[in-house]
């Protein structure tokens, strides 16, 4: 492909270059990855729905869950979603510092979410309600833990991108990466809606 380009750069090309690659396909590709991730969560949700009532004579959701804590957690994740939105808006206006500032705020909310979740997990394990206690708790720790792991990696990715933006500015590559991370972040918020509805709220209702 390249030798033809060099020999006649001005002539119109009436053929399809073999490695022709339309711009902006990263968004679709990343969306397909998110959909496959969605299948992972669907399997974990299905597992939880099937075995979520098998307490093995152990504690049930209404014994364990503190809805106030879950409400705070949900609030932090929601706030982090809109602050990431503000980061994307700053990016579209080419405000490098604004983007970095909003990304930092998003990261802080992400860390608060993870901190509360780890506190909840350690609290449960201390009470003897660890993942090995019953099928319900195994499924609970797997589902919520997988979501937490995603948030962890999202936060690491966020820090990496903040470094990239501060070093190289809002170049095309960084814009594309930020767009992918924003989709990832909002997707995790969508999964969390399922988690707090199915696991926590319905668990308390019984």
């Amino acid at each position: 492909m390249s030798n033809i380009d060099k020999s006649a750069p001005e002539t119109p090309e009436f053929y399809l270059r073999e490695d022709y690659h339309p711009e902006g396909s990263a968004g679709l590709g990343f969306w397909l990855y998110l959909m496959s991730d969605c299948l992972i969560f669907a399997v974990l949700f299905a597992t939880y729905a099937v075995v979520g009532r098998n307490y093995a004579a152990g504690p049930s959701p209404s014994d364990l869950f503190d809805l106030k804590l879950v409400a705070i957690n949900t609030g932090t994740l929601l706030l982090s979603s809109i602050t990431f939105g503000f980061a994307m808006l700053s990016m579209e206006r080419d405000h490098r510092n604004g983007t970095l500032m909003w990304l930092a705020v998003t990261g802080v909310f992400g860390l608060v979410f993870l901190g509360i979740e780890l506190y909840e997990f350690s609290h449960l394990i201390q009470e003897g309600a660890g993942p090995q206690r019953s099928a319900f708790l195994s499924a609970f720790f797997t589902l919520v833990g997988t979501h937490g792991l995603h948030v962890t990696f999202g936060t690491i990715w966020l820090v990496v991108l903040m470094t990239q933006v501060s070093q190289h500015g809002l170049v095309t590559e960084n814009r594309r990466r930020l767009m992918c991370l924003s989709m990832f972040w909002h997707f995790l918020d969508v999964v969390w809606i399922g988690v707090f509805s199915v696991v926590y709220l319905m668990g308390i209702v019984g």
């Binding site: 711009e23 968004g27 969306w31 299905a46 729905a49 809109i82 095309t172 814009r175 767009m179």
Partner: protein, 133 residues
């Protein structure tokens, strides 16, 4: 792809520096604020229903949680993930619909089959256990 189509794509690629990666749709401040407000309401109401024990019937409470959860997922898809029927030439919504179908089959199928397995499970004597195939 037609020659015209290719030329058009090349032309749009030359000035991609400014609008690269926004095929998923432009977010606006208004959109994010509307999405956030709706999300807060759609989160607060089910929490309020459950924490305040507002509904007597368990079935009604579960139905309300499902309803608000689904509505909030739709709000997030539209206002935060900028989904629409035209994003990425319609392929995003196609992938989404496909995923929803697979997820529905996996969820409904698992619950259905496992429920029947549980209810049809016969109590087994040690003799029967020994003679199991």
């Amino acid at each position: 792809m037609t020659v015209k189509g290719l030329a058009h794509e090349d032309a749009s690629a030359t000035h991609h520096g400014h609008n690269n990666g926004h095929e998923a749709g432009h977010g606006s401040l208004r959109g994010y604020v509307i999405g956030f407000t709706l999300s807060v309401v759609l989160t607060a109401v089910p929490f309020w229903i459950v924490m305040g024990n507002l509904l007597d019937s368990k079935l009604m409470t579960v139905a309300a949680i499902m309803l608000f959860g689904t509505a909030q997922i739709v709000v997030h898809m539209i206002y935060f993930l900028h989904m629409n029927a035209k994003a990425e030439g319609g392929w995003m919504i196609m992938a989404l619909i496909f995923t929803i179908i697979i997820v529905a089959i996996a969820l409904v199928g698992s619950l259905w089959v496992m429920y029947h397995l549980n209810t049809n499970m016969m109590p087994m004597s040690p003799e029967q256990m020994k003679n199991m195939p």
